[in-house]
């Protein structure tokens, strides 16, 4: 538009947590002092968190990256010719050529970091609303067929086929149906929902519109956790912009289809990420888990048929409609089709978001992308899939990142969070924490979860203190069985996964027989 130089500084939680706002202010001030005309765009993140704040400059149609940039780097960078993409120790060349980024296959995150998240013009110029237009043209039945054919499965963690869920809701007769988006991303090690909502919020809105059209719902809800204030701010603004431009409301694009979205904020409860508990919270109640059946697809929000999908599931849909189910289904392996935005976290050198097709080995992900541990010490354990996911030892890292391969080793991919621990970790402490967390976050409805978790902490303490160790180990195994078999939802039903895996692969940590060289937990 103008001859102003476009400089991108992410307005995304991780970048801001490392000083991106201060960097943006420093660039504005320094450019002003030099009489340079700059247009600072607050984009989303490219997912390369270890380079944040990652500043990009547009030169000859290319995006040149510098990072990590501190406010003190700004003057030297401008002197080095930042605005022309000049050389500097922090320069990484064009973003598209950075191996970490170049080796990914961005589908759901294709616009994230590239565009101004709150520019509808940029959204449309980069394929935005193509999926919705295709959906309008195809009609509800074909949309459901397309989503089914893509093989897309629920990215919240359960991996249920999305098309089948939508078909169930579409087939239910009701005066009112709903689309409820689960953005209560509480699993430690996960942040893809947040990055998407901060970096490409219209993609989620478009995905929800398509879901609404497919199942015959006119109202959507987004349930976002309160720990994500920036995502809340960005997404709330995106809703207003979309509504003002006619993408939400009545007769969208002259299609006759009405749909609007209401944003609800959670209140610090982990269990509200469980779908039925989330529905109760959306109804203004305590987030207590419901019995299933009835399925939410038939009796969900306010007792009406409801599609409950995760942010990433919904945001993956527009491109499936726009580019075709075959393109998506061609990615991945077996029944794990498409891509997953994995999140590298914990003790990792190059933490961030890596969107690749299913099938890569966990080891390749952690070493090739992640670069090993941040501490430089050996990897000892990796927890995948959040606090209800198993801990795998270093020797098992060759497992392939797909749903079935993980199920085969009693682990889960869940929402794609990968948390790496080095050899200073005390796995008995991690097992204890799993039970402790369950005790803190249990909704209290079922006994195995509410009481079992409290007893679990006590029993682990006795094992570690060598009080009747053998008897208590047997008791813990039995307790885990009871929780798995008897809990109402995954909170109590899967808390034993990290505990059992810690016992199975790291038993020496429970018996004080771990060999020399192992440190205490930091």
């Amino acid at each position: 538009m103008s001859d102003a130089i476009r400089i991108y500084v992410p307005r995304e939680t991780s970048a801001v947590s490392l000083g991106a706002d201060e960097v943006a202010a420093a660039i504005a001030a320094a450019a002003d002092a030099r009489g340079l005309s700059v247009d600072i765009v607050r984009n989303g993140s490219r997912g390369m968190c270890w380079l944040e704040p990652l500043v990009e400059v547009e030169c000859d149609g290319k995006r040149i990256a510098y990072g990590p940039v501190t406010p003190d780097d700004v003057e030297p960078l401008l002197t080095a010719g930042l605005t022309e993409g000049g050389p500097h120790a922090l320069r990484h060349g064009t973003v598209a050529d950075i191996p970490y980024f170049a080796r990914q296959q961005r589908w759901t995150f294709r616009r994230c970091g590239l565009t101004d998240p709150l520019s509808l013009d940029e959204y449309r110029a980069n394929g935005g609303f193509d999926g919705l237009r295709a959906a309008f043209a195809a009609g509800a039945d074909t949309v459901i067929e397309t989503v089914t054919a893509s093989g897309l499965r629920g990215r919240g963690g359960a991996g249920f086929p999305t098309g089948i869920k939508w078909k169930t809701v579409a087939g239910a007769a009701a005066s009112q149906k709903y689309v409820a988006c689960n953005a209560d991303e509480g699993d430690s090690g996960t942040f893809s929902d947040r990055m998407l909502m901060e970096g490409d919020p219209f993609a989620l809105i478009e995905g929800m519109l398509i879901a609404g059209l497919a199942v015959g719902a006119s109202r959507g809800y987004v349930y976002l956790r309160s720990e994500y204030p920036l995502a809340r701010q960005v997404f709330a603004r995106a809703l207003t912009l979309a509504r003002d431009a006619g993408w939400l409301g009545r007769d969208i694009e002259g299609s006759g289809f009405d749909f609007d979205i209401e944003l609800h904020i959670g209140a610090g409860s982990y269990v509200c990420g469980e779908e039925t508990s989330m529905l109760d919270s959306l109804e203004g109640k305590a987030g207590i888990v419901r019995f299933k059946p009835p399925l939410p697809a038939l009796e969900g929000l306010f007792g009406k048929p409801t599609v409950v999908n995760n942010v990433i599931t919904l945001a993956s849909v527009p491109s499936i409609l726009a580019l075709g189910a075959e393109r998506y289904a061609a990615l991945g392996v077996g029944r794990s089709t498409g891509t997953l935005a994995f999140q590298l976290a914990g003790n990792i050198r190059r933490g961030g978001l890596v969107e690749v097709p299913f099938g890569m080995s966990l080891r390749e992900m952690i070493t090739e992308f992640g670069g090993g541990t941040a501490s430089g010490r050996p990897i000892r354990a990796v927890q995948i899939g959040g606090p209800l996911g198993a801990y795998l030892p270093e020797s098992m890292l060759d497992v392939a990142l797909d749903y079935e391969a993980f199920t085969a080793v009693d682990a889960l991919i869940g929402h794609g969070g990968i948390v790496v621990f080095d050899d200073t970790v005390d796995m008995a402490a991690q097992a204890r924490f799993a039970m402790e967390f369950c005790a803190i976050e249990s909704c209290g409805k079922c006994t195995p979860c509410r009481i079992g978790s409290v007893r679990g902490v006590e029993v682990i303490d006795r094992i570690v203190a060598n009080e009747g160790r053998d008897a208590n180990l047997a008791l813990l195994a039995e307790l885990c069985d009871t929780m798995v078999d008897g809990s109402l939802c995954a909170m109590g039903g899967m808390t034993p996964f990290p505990v059992r895996s810690a016992l199975k692969y790291f038993s020496e940590d429970f018996t004080g027989t771990r060999s020399q060289g192992a440190g205490g937990n930091a």
Binding site: S14, C49, A267, G287, F302, A345, A522
Partner: protein, 155 residues
């Protein structure tokens, strides 16, 4: 320090959500924004205006971690206690915070300046350990960074 409860303002908050019972969690957030807590006086008023029982409202208030009954200190520091941050030393950082401030979780310093809270994931797991100061997340927080944060907030 604590803002005096005003039933008129309470009613305004409730009505700004259309006095719909299904908006209760959002209404309580409205009180949190205004009073930094859900004042005890608000509970019977909310119940009355939403046509719910006091027990219903109290049950919701007490279920969620966010809805405290007393206003916190001027600055709320929430240190992530979840696995990713544990892998990067959050247990030691938490211990350091407790010692430095002389308070435990859910407590406020004697001068009313800082309240310490646990939090289970801020979604900043690629930059662990993380903490949140009021609404601002900080990443890769070590002892020095913690000292700078509390110095900045006058503690």
């Amino acid at each position: 320090m604590a803002t005096k409860y005003d039933a008129g303002i309470g009613s305004e908050i409730i009505r700004s959500f259309g006095a719909r019972p299904e908006m209760l969690v959002q209404i309580l957030h409205g009180f949190l924004e205004r009073y930094r807590c859900v004042p005890r006086e608000a509970v019977p008023q909310i119940a009355d205006e939403l046509n719910l029982s006091r027990a219903d409202v109290h049950g919701v208030v007490s279920f969620y971690h966010d809805f405290r009954a007393q206003p916190p200190g001027d600055t709320v520091i929430r240190i992530c206690q979840a696995e990713s941050c544990q892998a990067m030393g959050s247990r030691a950082l938490t211990e350091y915070a407790r010692e430095t401030l002389g308070i435990d979780f859910h407590e406020t310093t004697a001068d009313g300046k800082v309240t310490l809270e646990p939090v289970y994931c801020l979604g900043n797991c690629a930059c662990s350990p993380a903490l949140m100061v009021n609404d601002r997340v900080h990443g890769r927080v070590n002892r020095e960074a913690f000292d700078r944060i509390i110095a900045h907030h006058g503690a």
